[in-house]
């Protein structure tokens, strides 16, 4: 298995793991009915620190790849961004047409939708990389 494939599997596993942890935290927050500025601040700081750690790590990881691998990863990222937007749009409009314009949905639906779309985007990104690698190995 080439480095690119290994990385794709690792990133998918990490995304699943982070989604499970995030989902657990949100379930807890929903049960506690947490709200207010302090909850927003704790959530925001945690998200910011987590995002920064991931960004720094990804910059280091990116240096390990050569130009063709970077191109494949860039293509995969483009597909995953498209996947995120499409799924976000589909679910948003599906909810709108299902519940109706004047209907209501539980507010925990919003972060759940966001994390669900993020997980889907990572799935698309890893799938594109793995498919590309499989095609190349089939071609010899």
């Amino acid at each position: 298995m080439v480095k690119l494939q290994t990385r794709a599997w690792i990133e998918l596993a990490v995304a699943v793991w982070l989604t499970v942890i995030s989902a657990g935290c949100f379930v807890l927050l929903v049960k506690l009915n947490s709200r207010g500025m302090d909850t927003l601040l704790i959530g925001g700081i945690t998200g910011l620190i987590g995002g920064l750690i991931i960004a720094v790590h990804q910059t280091r990881v990116e240096r390990q790849f050569d130009e063709r691998e970077k191109q494949i990863r860039h293509k995969a990222f483009t597909w995953s961004a498209m996947g995120f937007v499409v799924l976000f749009g589909v679910i948003s409009f599906a909810a709108f047409f299902t519940v109706g314009g004047k209907g209501t949905i539980p507010v925990y639906f919003l972060p759940a939708l966001f994390f669900g779309c993020l997980l889907f985007a990572q799935f698309v990104q890893s799938a594109v990389i793995l498919i590309q690698c499989a095609q190349e190995s089939n071609d010899g």
């Binding site: 080439v2 480095k3 050569d66 130009e67 063709r68 691998e69 191109q71 190349e136 071609d139 010899g140």
Partner: protein
């Protein structure tokens, strides 16, 4: 403009350079073996710096390694 317009003689040059393996060439120019395979097969067009590094690895000019087949 498609990638197929850029042909190369890497396989031939490797053979002439004492049957250099794809792995050896990859290590010399700082890419993976998969990238060398993709370039040899014409599936990936290398950047200009990489094309120069490949040419230097064979101690020849870039146009001796890569040819741009102009579509008429």
């Amino acid at each position: 403009m498609g990638d197929q317009m850029l042909s190369n003689r890497i396989r031939r040059l490797r053979f002439d350079a004492g049957e250099m393996t794809q792995q050896e060439l990859a290590e010399k120019v700082g890419v993976t073996r998969q990238t060398i395979i993709a370039i040899e097969q014409g599936k990936y067009s290398p950047s200009l710096p990489l094309a120069f590094r490949i040419a230097h690895a064979f101690s020849c000019r870039i146009e001796e390694v890569f040819q741009y087949d102009r579509e008429l």
